[in-house]
Amino acid sequence: MSYEVDGQEIATDEEGYITNLPDWTPELGAVIAKAEEIEMGEEHWAVVNFLRDYYEEYQIAPAVRVLIKSIKKSMGPEVGNNKYMYELFPYGPAKQACKIAGLPKPTGCV
């Protein structure tokens, strides 16, 4: 499996997570989202950007609880709750949003 951005082929593992993290660009994020059948809005990007910042600082994806707390702070409780996160990312904020954010599959995510 792979993605294509501007004629460039981006390699992934068998589940569609990119294998070379520095390959990521917002354009690639949009391409992955499309493959996941997600239409990216402002709220999706807020989640993706938070995941990337957190990974940059701690070298790991956050616990879902931490993600939700942060989104609640930045975008309000209507967005920052578990149910809404699953509306944004039906296959789970951890798994699917990390994939779009170009991060490895989260630890402990079965």
Partner: protein, 136 residues
């Protein structure tokens, strides 16, 4: 109905790189943290090197996973016991270790240090107090 919470202690005795033990231990801790158990970590012998600040792995081509220790508080792992004697034997002090904090939910989210320095004798008490001990 209340589920039984067990006390898990992950004991780390090896230097961070050179073997996979340290990184695997941290990975298992993070997975285990998702199951709402009472999780602590212990660092002794060369394991104390895992917590040192300023690690740079560029030349050995491995991921520097030391920043992940600072995320443990987010996973409710807030007790990192470090043995004083092991630090001293290696010429290290608390100052050489990363500043690792957690937010205390029961105290208005005050930031508190996760690292607890304990003597060898106190470490024995910490171990005696556990339900499950896993050694790495």
């Amino acid at each position: 109905m209340s589920e039984t919470v067990k006390k898990f202690l992950y004991v780390n005795r090896k230097a961070p790189y050179g073997t996979i033990y340290a990184q695997e231990s941290l990975e298992v801790v993070l997975i285990g943290a998702a199951f709402d158990q009472d999780v602590s970590m212990a660092f002794l012998d060369d394991g104390v090197f895992q917590l040192t600040k300023g690690q740079d792995t560029k030349e050995i081509g491995l991921k520097n996973f030391s920043p992940t220790f600072r995320a443990l508080g987010d996973f409710e792992v807030t007790k990192l016991y470090v043995e004083k004697e092991s630090l001293a034997e290696r010429g290290l002090t608390l100052e050489d270790l990363q500043n690792i904090e957690y937010e205390d939910e029961d105290d208005d989210w005050a930031e508190k240090p996760s690292i607890r320095l304990v003597s060898r004798a106190e470490m024995a008490d910490v171990m005696a107090d556990q339900d499950v001990i896993l050694s790495f």
